[in-house]
Symmetry: C2
Subunit: 199 residues, 2 copies
């Protein structure tokens, strides 16, 4: 595992940011190795060279940790360029998403989102919150459009027409069309919701 | 587990159809209980009261078994009514899908599809085949439309505009809009792909 030589004293000297970084990388490494089948907090902590108690203390649960990794990585990989128009911002966002799910790590992150969803009928509020975090970028694009005087599509439409196709393709490993796919999805969305400036 | 009183002789007397039925039910029960975290072939076999060697012999892998359960259940739950028109068939299909993901079992089945996807870069062909099985119903609707002289939308568009929203909502537990959702998705699809008879 590459961590067996580390001593407890070394572990305790990691800064909070170092712990976070090591734990996040361990999640990615273990997802790559096993697809999530062996993604337990003790395994993650061992791989990261930190105490599993610190992981529990900081994140509380495997689901919360996965959610944090996904949010951080996806926000790094899907930058929120301000292109000056709603259409441009949405295309840039989808384009970054398409690029991300063309990579193994990107597909693993999306599968990690699915794996990390709390199950059970009593977890509805957790799932909804989990998902709102995923839509943070989209909310910012919508706010920017409104500030410009544009009318952004409803969140539900963005969910169904932009987010859903990317997630489905990532989970099933179905390649997006080679070219023009971000434009296709965004123009379909804007045409169907009648946002101005789309024809 | 309710199976401890069964003897090996009882186990071996199950007909192939009884084995299949018991194993399928065990998958659903274990998915309900644990969300998939403990969904191993030995656990499934024990819960079903069959030998795990029979499960391996029949299905080969956990992924193949999950795929079989999902196909069977979803085909039972999503009947393929012939309504006489492409639009009608698609709406009936989406309506059944929406009804299914409003149930706990339906959401679990969709999550099972995601969980059962083979991971790893060498599993692309398996994933594609796995997914084609999911699209069997849609293929039949398209064939029926063609036989009627209608022009069905491309499979890729159906994937992005009908299948993806249902899967995403099932995985995240996001409720579909209370009414008119099947019509909304289907009319968006038909409008965007310019199929005749949609306006």
């Amino acid at each position: 595992m590459g961590v067996t030589s580390k001593q407890p004293t070394t572990r305790s000297r990691k800064s909070p940011e170092e712990v976070r970084s090591a734990v996040h990388q361990a999640v990615i490494d273990l997802l790559s190795a096993s697809g999530g089948a062996e993604l337990t907090i003790p395994a993650i902590a061992q791989h990261a060279g930190v105490n599993h108690t610190s992981v529990y203390r900081r994140w509380g649960s495997r689901e919360a940790l996965l959610a944090d990794v996904v949010t951080t990585r996806l926000e790094r990989d899907w930058p929120l360029d301000d292109t000056g128009t709603l259409r441009g911002d949405l295309i840039a966002w989808v384009r970054a998403g398409v690029a991300s799910i063309r990579t193994t790590e990107g597909r693993l992150l999306v599968r990690a989102v699915a794996l990390s969803m709390p199950s059970g009928p009593d977890a509805q509020a957790d799932r909804a919150q989990h998902f709102r975090r995923r839509l943070h970028a989209v909310e910012r694009i919508r706010e920017r459009a409104t500030a410009r005087g544009e009318t952004p599509p409803p969140l539900e439409s963005i969910l169904d027409q932009l987010v859903a196709p990317l997630y489905l393709r990532a989970i099933f490993g179905i390649e997006p069309p080679a070219s023009g796919y971000p434009e296709l999805l965004v123009d379909r969305l804007l045409d169907s919701t009648g946002a101005p400036g789309t024809d």
